[in-house]
């Protein structure tokens, strides 16, 4: 639980777990009739971790958040949220220890920023509500807008108010559902900066997004969901798992006989021609790069650049989604 978290009283009857994981999800499934929202999803999120939950539209990300937030009941499987087993009878206790910022801010537009936050402070039954509201507003740099009607705020500012609202109860787990959806680049950067500051404060964040650069920038670990969980791990791990290490070699003119130049090098496992040169598959780029450079110089090639290939999270993501599309079409 984050520092200063609101105690919720006697939790002995709730089956509270004292483990180190903020979220433990095991074989969780949700179906709406015949339609499967998500299926057999399992993962853990540690306290203080920023966990990215990626997936295309309709992958089941929001439904997962709603399920873990006790808004909807799972069809099967189990979960422990903020140390409390997920069940209907524990719903109120779980919701007092977590916070959710949905895709749309969901503010009362005829109420001021302060009135919106006062309402939620009351719903969480917070002690020192005024102090907590001030701290939450300070965290999102909105102290000077407390008296403004929410209806007069820009989309980006509304998102910041929603984030302040989500911080009011010092949640053990903060669910952010597509927090930058529909925001312009400036507002997006502001929200990103706020999430970074929360990460630095050790807040556990469950971030759903389909913006890959967002996940790559903000998250410690990511999972890719497309109804089922496709991959989970550190972005770097996922890259290594899916893509072999390689060098991108750019030359002014293609080699006359690349096989004789590249094919005989001990560090090189394979190669393929690209429009600007070659992608050379290697086991260790640091050892292979000088060897490849020497071979190219020996072959009188005009080298423009040699660099280790970089696969973004987007490449990982697209590869997974493409595999799903292929599997479905077959």
């Amino acid at each position: 639980m984050a520092a200063g978290a609101q105690p919720i009283g006697d939790t002995s009857t709730l089956g509270v777990s004292n483990g180190e994981s903020a979220l433990v999800v095991e074989h969780l499934t949700k179906r709406f009739g015949d339609r499967v929202a998500f299926d057999d999803v399992s993962f853990e999120v540690g306290y203080g971790e920023v966990f990215g939950f990626l997936g295309p539209n309709g992958a089941g990300k929001t439904t997962t958040v709603r399920t873990l937030g006790t808004l909807i009941a799972p069809t099967s499987g189990s979960a422990i949220v903020a140390g409390i087993p997920l069940s209907a009878k524990n719903g109120s206790a779980i919701r007092s220890r977590i916070s959710t910022m949905p895709e749309t801010p969901g503010l009362y537009l005829r109420l001021t920023v302060m009135e919106n936050l006062e309402c939620f402070a009351g719903l969480y039954e917070l002690d020192d509500a005024r102090g907590r509201i001030q701290r939450a507003l300070r965290a999102v740099n909105l102290e000077d807008r407390a008296r403004d009607l929410c209806g007069t705020l820009s989309k980006g500012l509304r998102q910041r108010v929603a984030l302040a609202r989500a911080l009011l109860n010092d949640p053990a787990v903060l669910f952010l559902d597509e927090p930058t959806s529909g925001l312009d680049p400036v507002a997006t950067r502001e929200v990103h900066d706020l999430i970074v500051s929360l990460r630095e404060r050790g807040v556990t964040i469950f971030l759903t997004t389909h913006r890959l650069e967002e996940a790559e920038r903000l998250c410690h670990r990511v999972a890719i969901l497309n109804t089922t969980l496709r991959l989970i791990g550190l972005p770097e791990e996922l890259r290594q798992r899916l893509f072999r290490r390689s060098l991108d070699v750019r030359v002014r003119v293609p080699l006359a006989d690349p096989k004789s130049v590249l094919g005989s090098l001990p560090q090189v496992e394979g190669w393929e021609q690209t429009p600007s040169g070659y992608t050379v598959i290697v086991s260790d780029p640091d050892l292979a790069a000088p060897e490849v450079a020497r071979a190219l110089v020996g072959a009188n090639a005009d080298i423009l650049s040699i660099a280790e290939s970089h696969h973004s999270l987007e490449d990982v993501y697209l590869q997974q989604i493409d595999e799903d599309v292929e599997a479905k079409s077959q």
Binding site: L71, A73, R95, G106, L111, E115, L123, Y124
Partner: protein
């Protein structure tokens, strides 16, 4: 976690603050009472009848006043759930520790308190106007029967009925305007009974009025339980029953 009046208060206060800046709600809360006090007051002040006819005239005038606790909260309570859903505020609220009973009572109180204040206020104005300007025989007829008791007892009970019907309609609707129209219509049936009493089709006695009030109270309590059972978070958010 047990029932919390703090959470009920938070919802109620938020609602009242929201109504205060909502022109449609303010307009409805102001227009309905104005309409329904002018008509009965004029009707009574201009009355030139005695005996049984006077009793019917007074009953009819007071019936107009009982439309206020049905009309005013119907419009507001019909907005309570579907309105939140339309503006995207329902999900954040339901993601807090609030229980459905707390949410519903908070919503109901926010409609009930102003309605009863307005309805009693309008009745007070009516009595004041009658005392000042009506013939003494009319004033005496107003106070002699069970009219005052009926107004005092049935105003909160009718408001309660209209509120639960409005919230029930709102919880199942996808459109605010349709919900408001439907809830106004659905709130009317108890008025039919009162109309029959006002027009002396059913002979009113204090015992009958109190019996009907007890019946309406029971219906209100039952309606509250039914509405609470209908309030399904999953259905409200996803449109599918959990």
């Amino acid at each position: 976690m047990s029932f919390s009046w703090t959470r009920v208060g938070a919802i109620c206060l938020k609602e009242v603050r929201d109504y205060r800046r909502n022109r449609f709600v303010i307009g409805t809360m102001a227009m309905v009472p104005v309409l329904f006090i002018i008509l009965p007051t004029i009707q009574l002040l201009a009355a030139n009848v005695t005996g049984k006819a006077l009793g019917v005239r007074i009953g009819l005038s007071l019936l107009y006043l009982l439309v206020i606790p049905v009309m005013v909260p119907s419009v507001v309570s019909a907005y309570s759930v579907v309105g939140e859903r339309e503006q995207g505020t329902l999900e954040p609220i339901l993601m807090t520790p609030i229980r459905r009973e707390e949410f519903l009572i908070g919503k109901a109180l926010a409609a009930f308190i102003p309605t009863v204040v307005i309805a009693y206020g309008v009745f007070g104005i009516f009595l004041g106007a009658a005392s000042l300007f009506a013939e003494p025989v009319i004033v005496s007829a107003i106070y002699s029967g069970s009219h005052v008791l009926v107004q005092l007892v049935f105003t909160p009970l009718l408001a309660g009925w209209a509120i639960w019907v409005g919230i029930a309609v709102s919880a199942r609707s996808t459109d605010v305007r349709a919900a408001q129209q439907l809830s106004v219509l659905a709130g009317v049936p108890p008025l039919v009974l009162l109309a029959l009493m006002s027009l002396n089709v059913i002979q009113v006695s204090t015992d009958l009025a109190l019996g009907l009030a007890a019946g309406l109270l029971a219906v209100d309590l039952l309606a509250w339980r039914i509405v609470a059972a209908m309030f399904d978070r999953e259905r409200l958010v996803t449109g599918t029953r959990g």
